[in-house]
């Protein structure tokens, strides 16, 4: 069961959209970070069941954050949530260990799909 979710995105609006797309009938513990460096720090503190990670961010981008998170915990479930949907970008993040790539803006359906996949990966 997914309980703890970390949302890493420099855009407060993007983070709000993810929160709005989460199922309303479930109770999540949400943590937010506004860049990759803060995301990595929050990851270490919270140990989330699922991380939604943007790519284009200041300070530390999502590529470096993903790499660092996977070095910290190779089994971490990380879903990249990005407007950068280029084929080479997707290939790069999958190589780095992303479990799923969700194009922005997400929908309730794409977030539900991510939750379902994350739950399976955690079993």
């Amino acid at each position: 069961m997914i309980k703890k979710i970390l949302i890493v995105d420099d855009s407060q609006v993007a983070r709000a959209i993810v929160k709005k797309c989460l199922p309303k009938d479930r109770d999540f513990e949400l943590t937010e970070a506004s860049n990759g460096q803060e995301g990595l720090q929050k990851f270490k503190e919270v140990r989330p069941d699922l991380t939604f990670l943007d790519l284009t961010m200041p300070v530390m981008d999502g590529f470096d954050a993903l790499k660092a998170i996977k070095e910290e915990d190779n089994l971490a479930v990380v879903m990249v949530l990005s407007s950068d949907i280029q084929k080479k970008t997707v290939e790069k993040v999958v190589t780095l260990g992303a479990d799923m790539v969700i194009p922005k803006p997400p929908s309730a359906e794409s977030i539900q799909e991510a939750l379902t996949k994350a739950a399976k990966l955690l079993v």
Binding site: D10, S11, V13, A14, T56, S83, I85, Q86, K88, K104
Partner: protein
């Protein structure tokens, strides 16, 4: 993000929504271009600013001042979302840009140079503006793109870009993103300028966009 005078019509929330809409739209545009040239376009965080239209050219000068001269592709768009898009590359990057499209080492003629720049502009501007409009529930029409192949920054005059961008006392929303091509020393700037006539619609559309979630 800067929200500056003269008349602060946008709230910071609305500007933040527009920044995210721009981010999504430029992601779509870069994916469209990457499909054509098979090179990853590296994106930066977009910037949204409310600015007096009469200060617009000065702002663009400031943003691009590290270069001596630019090649500028300009395209106007209109619908409920109305304004102009300017895609600017350093003039020194022209040959590099052409090489992204030309596998056969064809000699670079002025015509090939012009057509390449217009094509890049057509893809990036069309996809980006089209996606902004789509996300905000509008559909826009475009003027044919106009190329100014060599604009010296220090002389960037109002004539270099569409006259309707200027206008004393008017306000424009300036959306800017900087990008470069991976493994290539080529950077570019995309400026979208929504004019004052779009402002009221834009505010409503941005709030409607968030209400969709």
């Amino acid at each position: 993000m800067n929200i500056s005078p003269p008349e602060q019509k946008f709230s910071s929330d609305e500007a933040a929504i527009l920044q995210e809409v721009m981010n999504i739209a430029f992601g779509k545009a870069s994916a469209d271009l990457a499909r054509v040239i098979d090179i990853r376009v590296v994106l930066n965080v977009p910037h949204v600013e409310l600015i007096g239209a009469d200060g617009l050219l000065q702002r663009i000068k400031e943003e691009t001042k590290v270069y001596d001269a630019l090649s500028i592709i300009e395209q106007n768009f209109w619908g409920k979302f109305t304004g102009s898009a300017l895609l600017a590359f350093p003039s020194s990057a022209k040959k590099g840009l052409i090489s992204l499209f030309d596998d056969e080492g064809e000699e670079v003629s002025p015509l090939l140079e012009k057509e390449t720049l217009l094509e890049v502009g057509n893809i990036l501007i069309g996809a980006c503006v089209g996606k902004v409009a789509e996300l905000l529930g509008d559909m826009v029409s475009f003027s044919p793109p106009r190329l100014n192949p060599h604009v010296v920054i220090s002389n960037l005059a109002k004539e270099a870009v569409s006259k309707h961008l200027a206008g004393a006392g008017k306000i424009a929303v300036l959306m800017k993103t900087v990008f470069h091509f991976e493994d290539k020393d080529i950077s570019g700037f995309l400026f979208l300028v929504a004019n004052q006539d779009s402002m009221e619609w834009l505010e409503t559309a941005l709030n409607n966009f968030m209400a969709n979630f």
